[in-house]
Amino acid sequence: MSAVEERVRAELESRRERLAGAAAERGEQRLVELLVRVDSALEQLEHGSWGLCAACAVAIEPELLAADPLVSVCLECLSEEDRRALERDLEGAARVQQRLLPPPTLEHDGWELAWLWEPRSAVSGDHVDVLPAGGEDEPLHLLVGDVAGKGVAASLLQTHLHALFRALATPRVGLASVVGQVNRLFAQATGLASYATLIAARLHPDGAVELVNAGHPRPLVADRRGVRPVEGAGLPLGMFRDSEYVAHELRLVAGQVLLLYTDGLTEALAGGEEYGVGRAAAALRRHAGRPLAELLGACRAELEDFLDGGRRDDDLTLVALRRTR
């Protein structure tokens, strides 16, 4: 079994376990049907036929499989009409997702922020959002997340997360409680069949940053002393209905930079080796003094150097935040 197949098998086995629990608990037909499809894919993996088109027996496009490991027909076997409809749908979905993104840069109350969001295909499971302050002396909310999987299914859940936070994030409720509430609603919506990692940050005008980490890669703080990760993480959203979260507080001073990212950065692979948090930290250290948009471009360029012409196989999001006073 190849490394990709091993990874898909692990992902499907984990999905199967959660689905089996949800199907037994709720008995919904759609969950049972999904469980049958997962079992079928696992059986194909066992027999070496996973990834082959059920119609023509040719290998299905890797991008299609990466987006949905349960897919059973290749693009060639779709009719021309089906293909065009699929492309139109994807383009439409991509436009919707892009319209939901925040302004590319922002300066507010001593905070400066920029982001880079690059889907692996037309749409992304990565989530980035900035919720403006409701009034004077009120904090901004910054969200960076990653729904498990890629492609359309992940992007649908990403837009759901977007809506949940937009509806629930208010400074009058503690940030950990907001994340807990989002978790319950997200778990309810997905039936525990998927999950998302996420960092929610509340940026106060005095430089304080409240952070809640739901299973997401650790952010990196850069200053003149160097770069170090911010520890402290809870469970991903959607994994358990009753997960509880803890808010940690950082206080950034003028010049300090916080880099948030999705695992498309640190888990990018070249020659079987991960890019890793060490290379990400070293890149941030080299470029931390530059304007934020340049900093993000330079970090991405270092990742591309590491990949040496190879293609990323995940969505990528980088967000840089700097305290300016």
Binding site: L220, R225, G226, R228, G276, A283
Partner: protein, 161 residues
Amino acid sequence: MLETDPAAARLADQLERSFRGGAWHGPSVTEALDGVDAAAAAARPLAGAHTVAELAGHVAAWMDVAARRIGGEKVLDLPPEEDFPPDGAATPETWRRTLDRLDETYRRLHALVRDLTAEGLEAPVVGSDPTVRGLVLGVLQHNAYHAGQIVILARAAQGAG
């Protein structure tokens, strides 16, 4: 099935940060060596002190010893020519090979540490630290100590050049 230990994952994370970047104390080994060319690596700006190339070879040699000890070999010490390998930057090609060996040794050790089980962490090894856990903690301190020396020597060599 034996599962890897969360403490091993933390040690592997610390090892990565001491070698690649994100170390609390400042530049990692790789960051300290970034931009050091063969001439600077071979220079001896402080009489009686090691060169950057000797230190890079030394860090690689002891990460290799740690990997071999984790693998069960009873490596007690190294002869001087392996402890601080001379001529590691005699030419740009030999300096490249020294850096490649350093990187390869790190990746081998990191993979071993990351995959350790709880029992593996407490397994006995030869040397001044009696367990694998102690051995890896020693490597972390060793990397931090020599990364600092490399920074100073590289600055001195480039200032003198």
